[in-house]
Amino acid sequence: MNVPDDLLYTESHEWLKREGENVRVGVTDHAQAELTDVVYVELPKMDREANAHEAIAVVESVKAASDIYAPVKGKVVDVNKALESNPALINSDPFGQGWIFVLKIGNADDLKQLKDAAAYRKQIG
């Protein structure tokens, strides 16, 4: 499984990429493999505020619907509209074109709670 070194990770299999005051969020390669064929993505509403661990998006495979959580407290400033017509981008390019939303974070210290690549690799075995 691909676990890029330059990203942060959550217990619930989201990845984060720091972009100044923002973080870009998606689900990991491991998660997309577990989810199987993604057929529908419910994106969060623009400008909504979310607390850490709050379910703000849904990724649906043929078999089941899975919640996607805000990894840290923040405000939704961008969503990946491309997933509406092509949800399978989550399977084909989970760390790239398959990103789901961008959060503007209030407190960069919140990121300290997250796992680095080594810790996430250990989690997924």
């Binding site: 199987t36 849904v58 078999k63 619907a65």
Partner: protein, 395 residues
Amino acid sequence: VSEAAQKTTPLYQEHVRRGARIIPFGGWLMPVQYTSIVEEHQTVRNNVGIFDISHMGQFIVEGTDASAWLNTMLTNNIDKLDVDTGQYTFLLNENGGIIDDLIVYRVGDQKFLLVVNAARVEEDFAWLDRDLRLCKEGRSPLARRSLAKEADRPGGLETAAPCDIDLKNRSANFGGVAIQGPRIGELFHALFGQDIELPARNTIVDLDFSGTNLSVARTGYTGEDGIEVFFPAEIATEFWNSAIGKGQEFGIKPCGLGARDTLRLEMCYPLNGSDLSPEHNPIEAGLGFFVDLTKPNFTGRDVLQRAKENGPAQKLVAFRMEGKGPPPRPHYSVFSNGERIGEVTSGTLSPSLNYGIGMAYLSAPHTKIGTKIEIEIRGQKFPATIEKKPLYKKS
């Protein structure tokens, strides 16, 4: 149920070896997919796929009175079965509720193979066995009446003891696979010989596979042409690998329960435990075709007769989602003009049609084909339309 308590089929190691994702299903550890549900689904629609169905139960009912007794326990009419043919039928409780749906094959003059759902094996067997004990004690009212009637006929049961019936659960010693898809004919001949004919639809024949007798039935649960093969557990791995090996040139893939579910739902074949349950009878499920009300006695008959005369209160309908929306799922509520009219029992994104499809029990006045309904998904209502079954038709 913990994983340790789950049963495995004779093909379990093959699934693991081939990298299948394994899930618990009906008390069994089964492959849900090998590579992708959508890919496996398309393989069955376009080429040919092979499924492990060893988790399904296999009972043998044999004896002079076997057909007379089964006709009191099952809804369809056993007397219509010639030797080597099978029929879809129901096992009902006294209220007409569905315990199980199954296929019964007449494999000898008075010998039957019942193929039942994995999760219902113990329950079905206990239900049949209980009635059989009553029958043997002369206390099963239904069996007594039916058998007495047969005994009155010339050449009937005069010489046989009443309830000469043996019921065996051979599930643990037998495996099975379904091989389904338009290229089944080619693969069948590659497996069994160019001069061996495919059995006709709904028939079952014994064929030789490297010295072992296999039962091969022209049946399936996918809407594609195909066969189901039943064999002793010892040769499961050999047969499975042989079919996959010989199937390479026809584009075969091993397929999991995920594709099995999307394929059957496109055809509106019901799934026991989802679309069928003891709370619903076959008339409500729209499967009255498999109930023979001209039979004088079978468990649940009176309830079904009334349901047919008065019309069922609820009906199982097929529907499709309109426009872009999330796929429907079991237990989502269904609305019409703000009124809750029922609940989804099965739902998915159809890989063949590329829109959401499902089945739902709705109150009968709302079940006309073409009716606009709404499916509530995470608090929001999405438009859907009631469609004719099956949802998928081969072009």
